[in-house]
Symmetry: C2
Subunit: 223 residues, 2 copies
């Protein structure tokens, strides 16, 4: 990386941090818990959001901002669950940035509880960009392998929670959830770990409870 | 993206293209087929290379350059197969660049047939960087989903071949290999498509034959 590239990157991150700070402030003022989901392509971010939409229906109100390079597909899947969703297509860019979220935020209904942001599928670049969320999850699906945390440390280091997805496939794979969790915890001690199968429902009770508890903590902090 | 960022990116790509051209020329002069493997994390690049190492043993000589953000793990797996391997750890960078390959190239034995380059696991950024290879494959594993080509078009557009991996998991997944292939072909007509299970051996005959045929074509073009 040249010095010029380094300095442009630094400017970009500083500008992003500022925009993220404003979003965080606005979400907290509205009593909305912002949640940023990071993972490789195909780790099950959208399927998890579909499952949470089913669980929260009638209990909590959620909305979703979808990030993808191209296509409206993920937002359409979320809307089919009766949940408001906005698709941001980055047109080539490998991550979401705070100002992209800022442009959508005015359209998000004031009376919601959870605002999920599904990042572009990429275990590297999105880790460096704060989107103003109060909770960041990294997802790791069992077919990706339990050796991934040490190979992609920044995503795990920057997260508050790790969601091990596609637990239903573990019997067919050389994947040890305990090894994946231990490696992630060696990078980020205190990381909250959830093991789920969104299509079968395993582990969703614990994740649901943690989200509700974090929402309540955010709101009592505000009060 | 600011104009300044755009211009730095353009400079970076131009510098990379120049370095890639020199590598391509050197590999061709040595009669080595350079192959760049692109995919999401955990799509099975290293497992495929292990399977090819077993198949080529005694028939062809191969070497591998491994790209990862951190850890020497993949190079160790390849060396355990008796194949020379070099690990490039990018320390945060989301893709390999030609000059990183250039720095290793002097150490690669002259008398090899195939030089595989396993890129950093990332379906976005590596697509923009020519590494001087003569053949580029994008891998898509069945657990990632058959909707990925349209969501990550550049990786598919820039590839010569598509390898659908982890075919052994298809019975447990909502994955249609024909749909994935059709979508990839709509982005890049003429893409060669292979469906493999590296751990079970399915589809490796066809891939092996294509690699050998491409090597022969490269050498006869040189002669």
């Amino acid at each position: 990386m040249t010095l010029k590239t380094l300095s442009v990157t630094r400017d970009l991150l500083a500008t992003n941090k500022q925009a993220a700070g404003a979003i965080r402030q606005e979400l907290r003022a509205r009593g909305i818990l912002g949640i940023n989901l990071l993972s490789s392509p195909g780790s099950g971010k959208t399927t998890l959001l579909e499952a949470l939409a089913d669980r929260f229906r009638g209990r909590f109100r959620m909305a979703v901002i979808e990030g993808d390079i191209e296509t409206e597909r993920d937002a359409e899947r979320i809307r089919a669950k009766g949940v408001p969703a906005w698709q941001i297509t980055t047109g080539g860019a490998c991550h979401l940035e705070a100002r992209m979220i800022g442009r959508v935020l005015g359209d998000v209904p004031a009376a919601i509880d959870f605002l999920f942001i599904e990042n572009v599928g990429n275990l590297v670049c999105p880790a460096s960009f704060d989107l103003g969320e109060d909770l960041r999850f990294v997802l790791l699906s069992s077919p990706e392998g339990d050796d991934k945390p040490a190979k992609y440390p920044q995503a795990f280091l920057s997260a508050d929670g790790l969601i091990l997805t596609k637990a239903d496939l573990v019997p067919y794979l050389p994947f040890d959830p305990a090894r994946a969790a231990a490696e992630a915890l060696s990078i980020k001690p205190g990381l909250r770990v959830f093991t789920v199968s969104a299509i079968r429902g395993d582990g969703l009770d614990a994740l649901d409870a943690y989200l509700v508890e974090t929402l309540e903590r955010l709101r009592s902090g505000r009060a």
